[in-house]
Amino acid sequence: MEILSEIIKEALNLQTLLWLCGGTIVGIILGALPGLTATMGLTLMIPVSYYLPMGTAMGLLLGVYLGAVLGASIPAILLGIPGNPNAIATVYDGFEMTKKGKAGKALGGAIIASFFGGIISLILLVFLAPQIARIALMFGPPEYFALAVFGLTIIASVSGKDFLKGLIMATLGIMLSMVGLDNMTGIPRFTFGSVYLLDGIPLIPALIGLYAFGQVFSDIGSLKTFEKIKKISSEKMRLKDLFPSLKELWKNFRTIVESSLIGTGIGAFPGTGASIAVFIAYSRAKKRNKEVGSGILEGVMAPEAANNGVTGGTLIPTLALGIPGDAAGAVILSALIIKGVQPGPLLFKYDIKTVYTIFFMLFLANITMVVFQLVGIRMFIKMLSIPSRFLIPAILIFSTVGSFALRERISDVLIALAFGIAGYFLSLYKFPKAPLLLGLILGPIAEPQFRRSMMLFQGDWTKFFTRPISLSLFILTALTIAMTFLRRRRQRT
């Protein structure tokens, strides 16, 4: 309790609140602009967050993250174009409601469902993460290695439509993560004699490359969707039209709670993310109520509660195990690491204050997200008509500055650009980016754990399968691979 009041006192200062609010607004705008993702928003803010105190930095990042998740619902409802993958299932009923002239209520319903989703997932995060961390304290190197392999397999199997391509990307990520000094023997690997590469491939420029440069390069090809937005009718929306009535809220209460739980559960599973959660929540709602799909509030609230449920869910493995739940979790993990905070069970044991600070910031971000989306909705709709000829160079410039800012090296910017160009061509050939990022992050976790295990086992690798937790994780990994191949085969025939 004492620690909580201390955190609240520290967090409630003007600087933190300003960065949090600013982050939320930027997040909503980025989320609302089709093509720009929550991960991109988070990535672009890391360099800024690096210069802020821990709590303030987390406020900024979580503000951007939650804002972008909610903001995506604006174009989904008004235009039938999701701002980012978080809102792909909001389109159906949301856009139908707009056609019926109920855009305001759909937007308001999305806000309220998102708030519930966020808060329910936060509560679960607060209660579950410490328990999972406690169990994880019992993990030794073999369990950690097995967990990392499992996480990588899951993300390769769910991101994108192609498991083989996902696996290739995860392998490439691991290969890239091996560049630099081997941290157990100090032997340089794949450095080509360059001093610059001794530290390995810098994670943040790589992230900015993949998710900012690469994403924008891909967006240039789809300029038409950007221009379409200009045609929005600037419907007059008063604040009071946005709120669904208490009766409507009560009617949809079960859907909201259920979808929030689905979101949190899916988000907490390493490697999975919002794009899956929203569809599961939506089809659950549709199964129960046949009218879903024809443009009713329930069909908007289900996916919106689910995608904000993912926000707290994804932080459960990210914080408790140090293994991110999805790409957004991976970016938050990297942001913490460069601030000198190593998420994982030991964080819960020795630095519980940092953990609580993150929880509290997530709570505040849930509130600012609702407040700004409600108050600023008219402005955000106008933002959608920013011409892409200003927007695209602006984001590219911001990405350049961002990759430069951390270590003030032009070479970092060049790395970011290289990853951006590679990321662009990879997505052109439908190779998913998330497994590459996870490989980059998990490679340096998995490798030393593997080698430590082998030392522990005195070179006998069969012992990996004699320990119950690592054995079950390997079985789960094998099942994931088998199931994914079987499912894809069935889909094809």
């Binding site: 360099p47 800024v48 210069y51 083989l164 391509k165 696996l167 290739i168 392998t171 490439l172 691991i174 290969m175 091996m178 081997d182 157990m184 023997t185 032997i187 690997r189 794949f190 440069f213 390069f217 240039i220 090809g221 300029l223 221009e227 892409s388 000829r389 200003f390 695209i392 160079p393 602006a394 590219l396 410039i397 911001f398 350049t400 500055v401 430069f404 800012a405 003030e408 032009i410 910017v413 060049l414 650009l417 951006g420 160009i421 662009y424 052109l428 050939y429 439908k430 490679g443 998995a446 490798e447 593997f450 080698r451 082998m454 030392m455 522990l456 086992f457 005195q458 070179g459």
Partner: protein, 151 residues
Amino acid sequence: MVAKNVVGIVLIVIGVAYTIMASRIPSRAVPGDPGPSIIPMGAGILLVILSVLLIVRNLRRLEERVNVTKKTLFMILLTILYILFLKYSFTLMTMLYSIVGAFILKKSGERISKWMVFLFSVIFSISIYLIFSLLLDVSLPDPVMERIIER
């Protein structure tokens, strides 16, 4: 045939080269430690296997054709130039970049106000420079602006 499998072939070449390089990493004797080359070699070999699978699959299934738009290529080229010349003056290069970028990105036949583009790029580049150098203490490479501010 070759064009269709270019990605797979490139990946195999990368995988083989990587594996060979990994096998040459010197090992240091730590009892029980499989050494710094084992995981990279494993990953390299795995990549080769997966890429072969990709090619085998492509023989049966046709991959979609991809097309790169001219605008994207120009923007990528412009960004490369921008970053290479950045060290001479951040603000100046950013201005030029956003002006040229705006003209590359405009739709064909669209008329845009040159003054708007110019105004936007000047305000944007100077404010980014000021925000990062004054608020966050990042020294962006800009001898020109430094001289102006020092005065």
